[in-house]
Symmetry: C2
DNA sequence: CTGTTAGCGCATTCAT
DNA sequence: ATGAATGCGCTAACAG
């Protein structure tokens, strides 16, 4: 059988409570006691019982990853980073997809809360900007961390400077001689994409290029929406010489659209994406894109969340660095 | 505050035990009582407390997905299917990556068991054929379900007829006139790949084509390993006119390798993969491949596992159907 | 600094 | 077919 805290207490010759103190890093224990307890723990291979701990402590030791329909790869990376952080703190990760067909997001959320009673939540785009979800969490007074929120003020979590990243990417295109640069926007609900759009416009202004709304198409983050938006831009009387899509999947769709109409990438049109997902390296030509440390962002958001769970005011909005990667899909424009 | 079983009992005018009986579908309750309890549950919005239930019942209501390093997409699909099954049965899914660098798989497993004490485990390839993991689970008498095991005898879980699927795929190639068909094997530890390899050889035999070991290369399931193995086969004095890779990522690598040496797919060489992951439709040309209902397989494996958890002998090895998808990456060989 | 006592909310005996 | 008592393993409030 598994040993219990009582057994450890007996073996160490102390009370249960002292063992509890040591295990939970509480103050008011002499070093000698601490040592004795630790030795007993080792000897008996004691591991606390999660259920008992939760029941008595009125905590679940669960954090939930709440998501809508992000890209599979993005979700996977976030999840993997969160797992690392959870393991380090003996927390458990629960996956909470919400917004199933014909079901309101808050109804799904309610079910998750009734069942798991998570001590905290991590939100990723586009849910990180969803008013109904944010209101629900605020009402229930559940600590939560946001990843890449549109409005970081007063929130904890992790973000990067999306605008600056796009600015840098666009400057690279301009430096290569592009003046007609198209953009494919991400889903309107995705706040970070609005910063990417801002970066696009800022870069044009800095380069003294007039902003032309006709060069901007609406996408939905999917490969298929990239094909469609790509066709729309390439159908223009004077098509762009470069297209910046707000994520890699759409950029891959643009490349497909270009190929299908006999245009070579990057010879006839340069393409770039955002995220540096595996597809960026797997398609031909390899995609110029912006790398963000997605897995690390999942880990950091969880770390901040756990800090806040431990104490009211704790936790920050952490910033991470991006990296612009120029690969095969971009080159100077060809005179035609 | 949240209502407790005691409150429900009081509201329904019955004992706690009767409420417990109703909620757990135990026998020996009159219909009238059952109705009364259900009404009280509705009225009080009662939801059982997971921790209390686990503590008293000596069960964790947790199933673990134990994995090594499968393809991200595959893992995601399995996970998503498992989540569905878990939600339906009020179980919780715990992710258990094992075999971190310098850590033995069983050591990682031990940590997961000490912490979460899962009531059962789902294994996916290649771990589903890993002796050390299987032995560990058998020793600890933990119910587990296998997905796509090499040896299904005496196990529960879900599988498809990999050999038949490849046979069908190969027959399609042969019907299009291919006689020199290469194969890129998956990782040796991946049992299902051995059945795919068998399907490859069986198909050759049926078509009266001599098996040529020189046309078979070893891959590792990654895009990069596909490039390498593809180059190896295309470097042959008499290269194959078609190449069947044991998964889509490697097939994508073969296409890249072909392109880089100026060969057109499918004009100069046909390529096909296995799994029908998103990359199969995102690369150009779209990949001929075998679709397996991955997410459904995750769900079914969990359903069988939960059946076994509930009662000793229950649970089966379920079979699912494949589908061969001929797309752009295959055509009849060109005379050269 | 350390120990004692009393639940946390439920399932599980064993009565009736 | 139903109910009362007991305890799962731990933390929390209080006492020393």
């Amino acid at each position: 059988m598994r040993s219990r805290i009582e057994d450890v207490a007996a073996a160490a010759g102390v009370s249960m409570k002292t063992v509890s103190r040591v295990l939970n890093n509480e103050p008011n224990v002499r070093d000698e006691m601490r040592q004795r307890v630790m030795r007993a723990v080792e000897k008996l291979k004691y591991r606390p019982n999660l259920s008992a701990r939760s029941l008595a402590g009125q905590r679940s030791y669960v954090v939930a990853l709440v998501y809508n329909n992000p890209s599979r790869n993005y979700l996977m990376e976030i999840q993997s980073g969160m797992l690392d952080a959870c393991r380090d703190s003996h927390y458990n990760l629960v996956l909470a997809p919400v917004g199933s067909p014909r079901q309101r997001k808050t109804d799904d959320l309610k079910v998750v809360f009734e069942h798991f009673a998570p001590d905290g939540v991590v939100l990723i785009p586009p849910l990180t900007d969803d008013a109904s979800v944010l209101d629900f969490l605020d009402e229930h007074e559940v600590p939560f961390a946001c990843i890449a929120p549109k409005h970081p003020q007063g929130r904890i979590g992790v973000m990067m400077d999306e605008t600056a990243a796009v600015l840098e990417l666009m400057q690279g295109l301009v430096a290569r001689g592009h003046r007609r640069i198209g953009h494919i926007k991400g889903p309107p609900a995705h706040g970070a994409c609005q910063w990417r759009f801002k970066g696009y416009k800022d870069a044009l202004r800095q380069a003294g290029i007039d902003y032309d709304p006709g060069l901007v198409a609406q996408g939905a983050f999917s490969f298929e929406s990239g094909i469609e938006a790509g066709n729309q831009l390439l159908d223009l009387p004077r098509p762009p010489t470069a297209i910046f899509a707000a994520n890699d999947d759409m950029a891959a769709g643009v490349i497909r659209a270009a190929c299908q109409r006999g245009l070579a990438v990057p010879h006839d049109v340069s393409v770039c994406g955002f995220d540096d997902t595996p597809i960026a390296r797997h398609i031909y030509p390899a995609l110029t894109t912006v790398r963000q440390p997605t897995s690390e962002m999942g880990r950091l958001a969880t770390v901040e969340l756990l800090a806040r769970i431990r104490s009211q005011g704790a936790g920050d909005m952490v910033r991470v660095e991006h990296e612009v990667l120029f690969r095969e899909s971009t080159q100077p424009p060809t005179r035609r």
